[in-house]
Symmetry: C2
Subunit: 134 residues, 2 copies
DNA sequence: AGCATCTATATGCATATAACATATAGAGGA
DNA sequence: TCCTCTATATGTTATATGCATATAGATGCT
C-alpha cells in the first residue's frame, strides 16, 4: 500500500487563497510513486488520493502530467494489452527520472523552508493554536 | 528590520522543476509584512527580498498583487504626496486582511504538510544527506 | 539646461497552468 | 440494450507568470 504513514488526509478549504495551487507538485509525487513500482495512470490516481492528495484528482491532470514527464524523459511507457479491461499504459521510471526526483527534492525542500519561515513569523505574531482546529 | 530570523537566503535553482512556482505565496507574505506596519510597494519589495524571497523581485508581481489584494478588500491604500521623491501609495492592512492572513496560514500549513510528506517519503527511500550540500 | 539615476507605480503581451467538462472505448453485468 | 467500471485522452476557458516596458517626480552631475 501507500507508504505515506505521516499523511492523515488533511481537510481544508482553499477559499480566500486563490491561485496558490501548487498543482505541479503532482509531478514529483508521481515520480516517487513510480520509483516504488511501475504503474499505469489509473492506479497512480488512486495511490495519489491515498497519499494526502486533495480529494478528487482530475484524470486530465494525471495523464497530461504523465505525458509531459515522458517528454522530459523521466518516465517511459508501454501499452499493456490483453488480460481484462481496456488497454493500459504502464509507466516506468527512467534513470533520468530518478535524477529528477533528487532535483525536485531540493526544490521542494527550498519551498518548504519558505512556507515554514512564513508560518514561524505568523505564529510569532499571533501565538495562537490554530493548528489544533483540525 | 525584518524579523525573518530563521531564513538564511536560500540559494537554489529550479531547473528541472518547471511550473512549480508558488508565486501567489507572495500575497500572504505581503499581508504579514503589512501587519507589521503599513508600507508602500517599493518598501515591500525590499523587505520581501530580505525575507528569503527569491533574488530579484519583479515589481510587476508586487504591484499587481497589491492591486488584487486591494480588490479583495484585504488592504487599503492612500496616496502619500509631498515630502520627497515621487508620490507613493501607502498600503494598510484591513480587518478583512487580518482574517485573510489566518486563512492563508491554514492553507500554507496544509501545503507544507504535503511537501513534508513528500520529503519524508523521499528520505525514507533514499536516506541520503543532500540537505548538507548547501 | 541637458542628462542620467534613483525612487515609485503601473501596464502589455506571449505563454504556461489550472479547472472543468467531455470524448473514446473495452469489459462485464442487469 | 443500457449502465457502470476501468482506462486514457483532449478541448475550452480563465487565470497566472515572466519579462519587458511605460510613466514620472526628485536628485545630482556636468
Amino acid at each position: 500500500m501507500c507508504k505515506c504513514h505521516n499523511v492523515h488526509h488533511f481537510h481544508h478549504s482553499k477559499e480566500g487563497c486563490p491561485g496558490f495551487r501548487m498543482e505541479k507538485f503532482i509531478q514529483p509525487c508521481m515520480l516517487l510513486l513510480l520509483y516504488e513500482r511501475p504503474a499505469h495512470g489509473y492506479e497512480l490516481m488512486e495511490r495519489l488520493q491515498r497519499c494526502g492528495f486533495s480529494g478528487n484528482i482530475d484524470p486530465g491532470v494525471v495523464y497530461r502530467n504523465l505525458r509531459k514527464m515522458e517528454e522530459e524523459g523521466w518516465i517511459r511507457s508501454e501499452w499493456e494489452s490483453g488480460e481484462s479491461g481496456p488497454a493500459r499504459r504502464r509507466y516506468t521510471l527512467t534513470p533520468e527520472g530518478e535524477e529528477a526526483i533528487h532535483g525536485w527534492a531540493v526544490h521542494v525542500r527550498y519551498q518548504m523552508e519558505r512556507l515554514k519561515a512564513f508560518l514561524d513569523k505568523y505564529e510569532e505574531f499571533f501565538r495562537n493554536d490554530e493548528g489544533k482546529e483540525d
